[in-house]
């Protein structure tokens, strides 16, 4: 490597007529490395997105060839009171539960882990492991073994020790136990991931701040947490909140596998899936996807205004 370093130094000293060529080489290398990804992205992500937008303005029943233009009719249909709006409400309820819960739990775990003197790596790995499990697999485990409705389900076995009758968790709508199944599943899978984010955030806080606070007479515990840790975690917190919200928006796997096409707990993506793939109504399906994308964009931009996440000074 030393020869190339030498060339580099030499070229830095000279006022080089060679630099443009080197730039060209770098550009070529850049494209050679990037081309497969860019092409893949264009064909498999952007082209379908554009196609979806085009389809959303036409009546595409049992076909994905646009042509029968209906203007904004698909959008109007979806935004009238009906299953799509209901699904947005379902999402809102779901997000209201899952976002604060995951946030609090993962922050709590991160704080605890940060204080653990021994085996930190072990605990970190153990909490992070469920992230590697697929939602589909977890859904099946939750549905068939932990929360099944018969006497040999884990939850029902535990309850039977206290003389409680079997509960059909996923089928009971009053009280709505199915929420518990869904929320616990999502928590189990995602808490570890956000905990890691918070841990990274905690470790980047300079210890001098805490020392200074101690000298100024701040009490360890809540006061330090409230006035030093939390403000220092602002960037991490905003990122976590945003990711959680988008993830909740895109909830699909566990609802699809646990509840199928149930009108009482159907997030937007599940509804759109059944509209497009089940009913073959690609016009309304695409329109719904566009509405959802716009909503997420608006949310992202709004939080940028409010919290300033992603600004240079962060």
């Amino acid at each position: 490597m030393s020869s190339s370093t030498a060339t580099l130094e030499a070229s830095a000293v000279r006022t080089t007529p060679r630099r443009p060529r080197r730039m060209k080489e770098a550009t070529r290398a850049f494209w050679i490395f990037m081309a497969p990804f860019v092409i893949g992205l264009l064909i498999f992500v952007y082209l379908p997105i554009v196609w979806s937008v085009v389809l959303s303005f036409s009546r595409a029943q049992n076909t994905v060839t646009p042509g029968d233009w209906v203007g904004l009719k698909n959008y109007v249909d979806l935004l009238r009171p009906g299953p799509f709006l209901n699904s947005l409400i379902t999402f809102t309820i779901f997000a209201a539960f899952i976002v604060p819960l995951t946030f609090a739990l993962s922050l709590g775990l991160a704080l605890l882990l940060n204080r653990v003197p021994v085996a930190k790596g072990f605990f970190r790995s153990v909490f992070f492991l469920p992230t590697a499990c697929s939602y589909v697999v977890a859904s099946l485990v939750w549905k068939l073994s932990i929360f099944n409705g018969v006497r040999f389900g884990l939850a029902n076995t535990v309850l039977s020790w206290f003389g409680v009758d079997n509960i059909p968790w996923l089928a009971t709508t009053s009280p709505p136990w199915y929420w518990m199944v869904i929320v616990t599943l999502r928590l189990w899978i995602q808490v570890g991931f956000y905990m890691i984010l918070f841990l990274a955030g905690l470790q980047s806080i300079s210890p001098e701040l805490y020392e200074a606070a101690e000298i100024d007479g701040a009490k360890p515990g809540w006061q330090t947490f409230r006035f030093i840790t939390l403000p220092q975690l602002r960037a991490t917190s905003v990122a976590v909140l945003l990711l959680l919200l988008i993830n909740a928006y895109q909830a699909f796997d566990e609802f699809f596998n646990l509840l199928g096409n149930s009108s009482f707990a159907r997030p937007p993506l599940v509804y759109l899936y059944y509209t497009a793939q089940g009913n073959q109504d690609f016009g309304h399906g695409s329109a719904g996807a566009v509405i959802l994308a716009l909503l997420i964009m608006i949310l992202t931009l709004a939080q940028g205004r409010v919290f300033g996440f992603g600004r240079a000074d962060d």
Binding site: G149, P168, Q250, F264, A293, L301
Partner: protein, 430 residues
Amino acid sequence: MSRRHFLGALGLGAAALGSGPLLAACGGGSSGVGNGGGGGDKSKPTINQWYHQYGEAGTQQAVMRYAKEYPDANVKVQWTPGDYTSKLNSGLLSSAGPDVFESGVNIDQVQSKQVVDIDDIMKDVKSDYTEADLKSTTVDGKIYGVKMVDDMGVLYYRKSVLDKAGVKPPTSMDELIAASKELTTSKQKGLFIGNDAGVTPSFGGGALLGQILWCVGQDFLTADNKPGFNTPEAKESFLKLRELFDSKSLLLGAPTDWWDPSSFTQGLAAMQWCGLWALPGIKKAIGDDFGVVAWPAFSSSVGKPSTFLGGWTAMVSAKAKDVEAAKAFVKWLWIDNSKDQEDFNLSYGFHIPPRKSLAAKAEKLKQGPAADALKIFNDYAVPSNPAWTPKMSSAYADAATAIVRKNGDVDSNLKKAEATVKTELNRLFG
């Protein structure tokens, strides 16, 4: 708004959209198994044939065998576990889909020219099919598929359990609810109609969506294609099913769903609504300790007993590489080849052979509960209507789910479904 913000938002939006309805690019043989091709003889055309997963052992090997037997083409069989409907829908939109497939005839597929009519191969044998089967495969006077199997549902009950409790097989909805309550113990529920209480159509659920209406003498659509489910009788029937759901005597959250007899044979439920296909399996598991009845009439004065006339229909895709070759294969297997039809209908799970001449010869359906089932089928089976589209079905099932499982208001929910169905009917028939 800075450019970076905008691009960030665009990226997130793209991610959201990308997970929406993608262009169907999954028609190929990415899942499913097996290839029953006849050794890949290059001089013959290749026909891709798609099946959903039949649960009974041996069925898959059987269809592979039929494919191998076909002399005029290499037939590749794709056997699809899981969500067959979505996969088939995607496949039919792409050029990598099936040439020949099993499904049910639907007016949307016909109007958007996804399937071809098979009048020419059916014309000589039409009289050997029942009116009901012809009706369910005909759109605008043309036949679009040939029935491979006729399926039906029956209410299985454990004789010994009912005798011990002094309960008679139910003949009305009130009797059914009373029996279900009576038969419920700490170890066993009275009745199993699916983990969705019979009203939510995913993963093969929604088993009672038809019976709710048929048991009061109504149907999804009237004879002149108007919504038929928003009547006082139907509302009564919905409330009755809710009463059954609220009675705490239904088995819910079982490991398998209504189409699989395990919950019944393992004693989780004393009665189960299931298909005739499960009869051989049930007999193997519990011997002669069971009987079958139709889904009961609403009451002694209203409605009549009912069951569905389901099953699968062999159809030819309009995008088939060689439509004529595909039709010839369908004719060879599902019209002319009575040996294989008999094997497929009666050697694994029980189905009723659609050809009248074959059904008349089916010895296995002439004794015990199978004979009772055949009689129920001939007296009470209600055929499907090709004009009842998936979209109508979804809207109706949403209402049924809200009413029965969520204590929703009957009037307003059925009205919502009716509005959607009317819009659809306008689209189809103007």
